[in-house]
């Protein structure tokens, strides 16, 4: 561990501690924005742990997120299980599912991988609906807990800490190095002795685990769980888009996409409520055209310029 590594850890810890203080100052409205930001930060960052270095764009986030939320709902509503027990079960189930999905996608690359994950997520969604309809016989899934938004937020900040720590560790480990090589040239990666399948599945499983954990932790916020809501494919797209917007080249890339995008979306919703979708679309196009390499790219460019001009 170099002094730079330690410095990063300390900084990360300070920032996370600050983030954990948000409930002390925020009112309900800012709390719910902070919660949304925390949720997408965790989802996008863990997504980018796998997809950033490999350039494999996964659209399966909703499947894992949905499994998390749905199992918590089913467990609490149909089987009267305790919330925290269900969080553990749901995230384990999500992890196992992610592992299987990871194995199944090994032979695919490029756009075939992208759409495969989308199709798989949709298959899981309709299967879950069918199972609910025919077997679990649920009459509405309620997640009634005493957890407020601030509690859920703190849970998510803890998960964020876990994700960042994992990301920090991976970047310094053989695994992270292997992922960078795979992202460059998978053929070469195999020929330098990297078990590419193993590395990819490990990281994919981790991001699936995080997504299902988030789905389980956020469920109390929705109170009432509908499979078609928690398995919404839109979520997968938004996670990808926020991560790409920020930039996937660095661990902190996604968050610089998530924060401005969430705030922008909020601003548009508040001020153009009747045309929010239209304005959001246009804002999106403007971002794509004027921030070609994402927020991260723009930031690094600016820094590079500043450095040049001061020297």
């Amino acid at each position: 561990m170099t002094s730079g590594d330690v410095k990063q850890l300390v900084w990360g810890a300070i920032l996370l501690a600050l983030a954990a203080c948000v409930p002390l100052v925020a009112n309900g409205y800012w709390m719910s924005i902070a919660l949304t930001i925390a949720m997408f930060t965790v989802l996008s960052t863990s997504w980018a742990l796998f997809s950033g270095p490999t350039h494999y764009i996964s659209l399966a986030t909703a499947a894992f997120f949905g499994v998390g939320g749905f199992l918590v709902g089913t467990g609490m509503s149909d089987y009267n299980t305790d919330y925290w027990t269900m969080v553990v079960i749901a995230s384990l189930a999500g992890t196992v599912l992610a592992f299987l999905v990871g194995l199944a996608t090994l032979r695919l690359s490029g756009v075939y991988f992208v759409i495969f994950t989308l199709g798989l997520a949709e298959m899981i969604r309709t299967l879950v609906s069918w199972i609910q309809n025919n077997f679990t016989g649920s009459r509405g899934l309620y997640v009634l807990t005493d957890l407020g938004e601030a509690d859920i937020y703190i849970h998510l900040v803890l998960v964020a800490a876990l994700v960042y720590l994992a990301g920090w560790w991976i970047a310094r480990s053989r695994l992270g190095f292997a992922m960078r090589i795979i992202g460059n040239d998978e053929m070469v990666a195999r020929h330098v002795g990297i078990n590419t399948a193993f590395s990819k599945v490990i990281l994919f499983t981790f991001s699936g685990f995080v997504a299902s954990l988030v789905g389980a932790l956020i469920a109390p916020r929705y109170t009432y769980i509908e499979p078609n809501g928690v398995f919404s494919p839109e979520l997968s797209f938004i996670v990808v888009i926020m991560a790409l917007l920020g930039g996937t080249g660095r661990l902190w890339g996604p968050i610089v996409g998530v924060i401005p995008f969430a705030l922008l979306q909020e601003y548009i919703n508040a001020n153009y409520s009747n045309y929010s979708t239209l304005v959001l679309g246009i804002a999106f196009l403007v971002i794509v055209y004027f921030l070609p390499h994402g927020v991260l790219g723009r930031l690094e460019e600016t820094w590079a310029k500043r450095r040049r001009s001061t020297w």
Binding site: N27, T36, T223
Partner: protein, 399 residues
């Protein structure tokens, strides 16, 4: 020189407008409304929810506003699109409470959204008169949230009423025991199908076809074919808007000749009769209104005149009623104090276009459960304690 002038006038303008806002704020009741304009439920909310918010606020303001403790106050609506996304809805609700500081709110659209937002509205103690929500967990929820009211009825009575109609028709000799039942594989459809299944069996009906289909199935003709092959006397579909249209179109094409044909949500929509015309005479659907009531007729006319759209034959009127209740409760309590208004709602009876409505343990037991298209009008035929039910007729082919 010029610049300073500009600044000065801008500053004066700004302070003037700020003054105007604060003056206005004292005379205005701010009411927030969050419901979908886009997303999966957007198409329904645009028919049922939004026009009534517009209609009611315009009518109230045209009459000079609400009388709050002797002072006339206009209502101002602040609306947000929740994009049919629960997370968005919760955020917008928080914004209404914390940023816009609205005095009251219009309940969300859809069961899931009413439940998802209930904790938020409870936190700020807004009277939450849930209209478009059907659930059997209502007693538990009202026990948990003292500001929450339900008006549209519960799953049990909706399914019971359909079974009652079947029993009536069987007793009249119009149909036999064979019932085909399908449902959309979504919380709403699953709940209702589950509630109906034991009741049908108990009443001695054979469920000869019992299938679900996923939300967004593009071709429902196999369902109608399957149902037709089971040779039913009655067809019951716990369906959502797009499938209600698609099932009925296929039923017409395949000539599913049953004496009793029921589809759930959106059967009462103007677009339903707009699409099928006279062919759907005799079709049953969820909800209903008393078409003969002069109040309802006046409401329909005002709805058309002011919003330019036709009201649907069920939830539109209910939505309007919930706003009437809110308005009357504010006037009755004579204050904008929310707790006072909530207490007033709990204790009082309201004179609405659907007749007198009152709440027992925060739940109204007066609502329509089944309606039927009869000569171009969607009439309520089964209800819980509503007057003016039309007699049911048997469906006589698709003409």
């Amino acid at each position: 020189m010029k610049l300073t002038k500009l600044f000065k006038s801008a500053a004066i303008g700004l302070s003037a407008s700020m003054l105007a806002v604060s003056v206005q704020a004292a005379d205005v009741i701010k009411i927030g409304a969050v419901a979908p304009k886009t997303g999966a439920l957007g198409g329904g909310a645009v028919v049922t929810q939004w026009p009534n918010v517009e209609l009611w606020s315009k009518q109230v303001n045209a009459a000079g506003g609400l009388d709050v403790g002797g002072k006339k106050m206009m209502v101002e609506i602040i609306e947000y699109d929740d994009k049919t996304n629960p997370g968005e809805h919760i955020k917008a609700a928080q914004r209404l409470a914390e940023v816009d500081k609205v005095d009251f709110i219009v309940a969300p659209y859809g069961t899931g959204f009413n439940l998802a937002a209930a904790p938020i509205y409870a936190k700020y103690n807004y009277p939450h008169i849930a209209v478009s929500a059907i659930s059997d967990k209502m007693p538990e929820l009202t026990a948990r949230y003292s500001n929450l009211f339900f008006t549209l009825g519960n799953t049990t009575s909706f399914s019971e009423s359909v079974v009652d109609i079947l029993k009536d028709m069987r007793a009249a000799g119009t149909i036999g025991n064979r019932v085909a039942m399908v449902n959309v594989a979504d919380a709403f459809g699953i709940e209702l199908a589950e509630a109906a299944r034991p009741r049908l069996k108990e009443a001695g009906f054979d469920i000869v076809y019992d299938k679900s289909y996923p939300l967004g199935t593009p071709d429902l003709s196999p369902i109608i074919k399957g149902a037709k092959e089971s040779n039913p006397d009655a067809f019951v579909a716990w369906s959502y808007p797009p499938d209600t249209f698609a099932l009925t179109e296929q039923a017409i094409i395949q000539d599913l000749d049953v004496k009793m044909y029921y589809t759930a949500v959106a059967t009462c929509f103007p677009a339903f009769v707009g699409k099928f015309g006279s062919k759907i005479n005799g079709v049953f659907g969820a909800g209903g209104v008393n078409q003969d009531s002069p109040d309802i007729q006046a409401y329909f006319k005002a709805h058309k005149d002011i919003t330019g759209k036709d009201a649907d034959g069920w939830a539109s009127a209910n939505t309007y009623v919930s706003l009437q209740i809110l308005g009357q409760a504010i006037e009755g309590a004579g204050t904008l104090d929310r707790q006072a208004v909530i207490d007033y709602i709990k204790a009082s009876s309201f004179d609405t276009i659907m007749g007198p409505i009152s709440f027992e343990d925060q739940i109204s037991n007066r609502f329509w459960t089944v309606g039927q298209w009869q000569d171009g009008k969607f009439r309520g035929v089964k209800s819980s304690q509503m007057a003016g039910a039309a007699p049911i007729v048997a469906k006589d082919g698709w003409n």
